[in-house]
Homo-oligomer: 194 residues x 2
DNA sequence: CAAGAATGTGAACTATTGCTCAGTTTCTCA
DNA sequence: TGAGAAACTGAGCAATAGTTCACATTCTTG
């Protein structure tokens, strides 16, 4: 299952793009509803409403589809985080918004976010997905050090881990009061950093 | 009446117990060194130095071995946590020790702890493993509310999630200064609760 | 020791996996 | 319109999965 993770063919027609998207989205839904272990290429194709042959026209193997999904999700989050970093808001405001972005992202598809958390550590992300991860990490670090210049070297990593854990825990418990969650996280983060 | 006056013939059980333990431990090592997805019953048997037939004499299927492993690990942690809860220490001291127990547990076998975190959410834990989980959760709740009687209803769950995330993050980054980690976690916990 | 119980063995079966490929359908555009 | 390009199809292949079972070995005990 190790190998090239690039699409075999660059889709030129919109039909191709739609098929590719359908495949990635099918994996997302399967991870949400069933799980990682029973995920097979044939089931992916079936859910996507596509033949198994088509699937392998767009992805060289199963892992590549997971990586594409990770890339898709990470891009969404990165866009929000980058916008916050580049905004003219105060450092404190940026941190607040960062927490909000994390909540929004994970609450959008909680089970998917949880499943991908494991997949990300398991799968060999390609260069592109690793770049996203790096950009994301740098953006967060920048914001954290802006507000807490004296924070330790693992502060950004820890803050992300903490927030992620709190959000997950809350989402899986079915909470809906996101304002309350947001203030709990902010409290924990400032307690840790300040 | 089979009043369970078990003679417990020495040799009769020790060989069987050793085989069962070897199987469970083989899974633990495989999860640490390789991962969940490539885990197969034949590989488990091979690592345990046992035939595949023997494996199925002790466990009805692969999942059951994972559950047995989870039970083993949870029991270790529960023993420590219960001892802390039953000790005569002050509430604050109990919280300190609780954090210490979490660190000790996850740092003992970090990769295993991480892998099991995912498995626990995936696999259907039996009644016995669920009981352990419940007891653990109750013990932690008791300690948390002792020190923070006014804490919200999800405080114990959140504190555990936070601490777990910080420890994981630290362990996977290869940190060794456990005292520093402990104080960081305590800070985050008190920041969140206080 | 003898004999039954407990424990251990591994070839082999079935189902399923990831994946291929020879061929068909649909689209594009001169 | 028709012919080449793009997209799609699905039966089927080799590999591997989980699991079974008929049999061998080792232990316990009268």
């Amino acid at each position: 299952m190790v190998g090239n993770i690039e699409p075999r063919k660059r889709g030129r027609q919109s039909r191709a793009k739609a098929t590719e998207d359908a495949i990635v989205e099918a994996v997302a839904r399967f991870l949400e509803e069933v799980g990682l272990e029973p995920l097979t290429t044939n089931k992916i194709a079936e859910r996507a409403g596509v033949s198994i042959g088509s699937l392998y026209q767009y992805f060289p193997n199963k892992e590549a589809i997971l990586v594409a999904l990770i890339r898709r999700e990470r891009s969404l989050l990165l866009a929000d985080v980058a916008a916050i970093a580049d905004s003219g808001a105060s450092p404190q405001e940026k941190i607040e918004r960062l927490v909000g972005a994390g909540i929004k992202h994970q609450f959008a598809r909680p089970r998917l976010a949880l499943a991908l958390e494991y997949v990300e550590r398991t799968v060999n992300l390609g260069e592109e997905a690793q770049d996203l991860e790096r950009l994301l990490s740098e953006a967060v670090s920048g914001i954290v050090y802006l507000q807490f210049p004296g924070a330790g070297s693992h502060a950004p990593r820890d803050v992300v881990a903490m927030a992620q854990a709190l959000i997950n825990s809350s989402a899986m418990a079915g909470e809906t009061d996101l304002q309350a969650l947001r203030s709990r996280i902010t409290k924990a983060v400032y307690g840790y950093l300040g």
